[in-house]
Amino acid sequence: MIDWGQLFSNAAVELISPTTAAYALAALGLAVHFGFTGLLNFGQAGFMALGAYGYAISTLTFNFPVWASVLVGIGASVVFALILGVPTLRLRADYLAIVTIAAAEILRLIFTTNTYIDVTGSANGLSGYKGGFAALNPLPEGTYGFAPFTNNSYDTWLRIVAWTIVILACLFVWLLMRSPWGRVVKGIREDEDAVRALGKNVFSYKMQSLIIGGVLGTVAGMIFILPRAVVPSNYQTTLTFFIYTILLLGGAATILGPVIGSIIFWVLLSFISGFIARAVEVGWLPFLSNVQAGQLRFVIVGVVLMLIVIYRPQGIFGNKKELAFVK
């Protein structure tokens, strides 16, 4: 028989997992880009990769302390945003989409190629960079939390840091979006010529937005690698699309949407994959092999998400009123 208790508790673990936090943060960055400013960034995976590799390479190759490694990652993503933005932000919105999707792929291929294997680890990626972060852990050895959320000292420390960053980032974006700065950016989303005619430097605001959302994605990339290793194949375009899914699920122009969207996404994914695996085990799905079952979860998640987007297109936190006016 299927152990439902086990299934639910496995899914519940994802509620506060650092991966959920990382996706929430990356989606928040995308909310700044797409939801608030109307920038079509399809290269969020590239910004995340810069965070992951920026941090890991600084630590492994250059022996940088944690703070310096973080700054290297952030610096790299600011430069990346400038390179993407300077030629495209003056053009129509679609050009940014094309350039970002290509640039993120170029980054991933550079990280994968054998040429820089000493630094990037090529297709095998990087590991062994967690010492610095673990050394900052003030928690003594032991087990923390309550079932099903019990973790060792490192994992607890990681969760505390990850979610603190998510909360601070939400606060930051919330403050920005209720300010006159946010008003300009939302105006640009609606019609940039009108905003220009009112004397605002549209290019500069778009650039600021691209950098802010990109840096959020980069920090998400750093959180993402702290419970695992850096593997280049994680940064494919599908990653960007998962983050878009989370964003649309939660509501594109909202602050809490990306966070709740990420939680729902990961809890659902974990529950469905757990359920399919158990169902195959007990023989409920005789026509499926284990390998096929592993893929089926994405099909089901896809269908569930489609239903949500069809029946609640404004997302969970989106404003129903807006829908009446979507062209």
Binding site: P180, R183, R196, L198, N201, K321, F325
Partner: protein
């Protein structure tokens, strides 16, 4: 020029004595705010704008008229940095504007509206208005994070916005999305928004198209008020009655060129203007249809209206 408040209804006070010498295309003005020289813009083989010399008088209401496709909107785009001419120089308030990006032109105090209305649909009407405020502290990324640094300014902007909205009969809508406004209301919102920055020169592209006549009267009064406060207005309009009613000076364009200039009443008697509206060969083309010619002449002259 007169500084007494414009009388309501009846004939508004016209500013006269704006030009030096004969009223002809390119005539010099006593105190020009905008000066254009040799401005030319072509689209492929089509010359949309070709203005040898034009001066817009300061602290007056100038109407820019002409048939469809005359180049009025293109001229607006060139003046405000939304389009670049193939040749020519132009200046605003003594500062040359060639190569100055549109947002800087607006910052200098030359604010425009668009013929195809640009309401910011998913912003509230009030937010649309507040966006028009200039030199806002909270529009800086870092100050934005400290609400106490911009809250007072924002509140003042809000008061000003509500006053203007009342004037434009939009105050009841202030918390609605601009997307929920009707076409005419959007036109009004855009005009009100442009006025939020207290521009020195406001350029309105067909401001009254689709606005109901009762409201038009009150808005015309408002525009006249702006003049007494020292603002310069340049507007494009097809409604001759409105032009005659409030314009101090009229510039007539046809096929990219300025074909006539002058005070409203005189300019509409001008043969070049009648030609412009009828096509220059109207005698041969429309010879068999004298009623049409008469209708247009009547429209342009229509002197009995008070």
């Amino acid at each position: 020029m007169s500084n007494s408040p414009a009388p309501r209804r009846g004939a508004p006070v016209k500013t006269t004595g704006l030009h030096i010498g004969e009223a002809e295309p390119g005539v010099a003005k006593v105190d020009p705010i905008v000066v254009l020289d040799g401005v030319k813009r072509t689209f492929g083989g089509l010359t949309a704008v070709d203005v040898e010399h034009l001066e817009i008088p300061r602290n007056a209401i100038t109407a820019l008229i002409g048939p469809n496709g005359a180049g009025k909107t293109t001229l607006f785009n060139l003046l405000t940095g939304f389009d670049k001419p193939n040749a020519g120089t132009w200046s605003f308030d003594g500062q040359t504007l060639a190569g100055v990006p549109s947002f800087k032109v607006a910052k200098m105090g030359q604010v425009r509206t668009f013929q195809l209305t640009k309401a910011l649909a998913l912003l509230s009407v009030l937010d649309n208005m507040k966006l028009g405020g200039k030199d806002q502290k909270g529009e800086n990324l870092f100050r934005a994070l400290v609400p106490s640094s911009w809250r007072d300014q924002d509140r003042a902007l809000e008061e000003k916005a509500i006053e203007l909205l009342a004037r434009f009969k939009l105050d009841g809508k202030k918390d609605d999305y601009a997307a929920s406004l009707s076409g005419g209301q959007r036109k009004l919102l855009e005009m009100a928004r442009a006025l939020m920055s207290d521009p020195a020169l406001v350029m309105l592209d067909e401001p009254m198209a689709g606005v109901n006549p009762a409201l038009t009267q009150s808005l015309l009064d408002h525009i006249l008020d702006l003049k007494t406060q020292g603002m310069t207005v340049l507007f494009v309009e097809h409604d001759m009655q409105m032009v005659r009613h409030i314009a101090d000076w009229v510039v007539v364009m046809a096929e990219g060129r300025v074909v006539a200039e002058g005070a409203p009443r005189e300019v509409m008697q001008n043969q070049a203007v009648i030609d412009a509206y009828l096509g220059s060969h109207h005698d041969t083309d429309l010879g068999e249809d004298p009623t049409r010619v008469d209708t247009i002449k009547e429209l342009l002259h229509d002197d009995d209206r008070t």
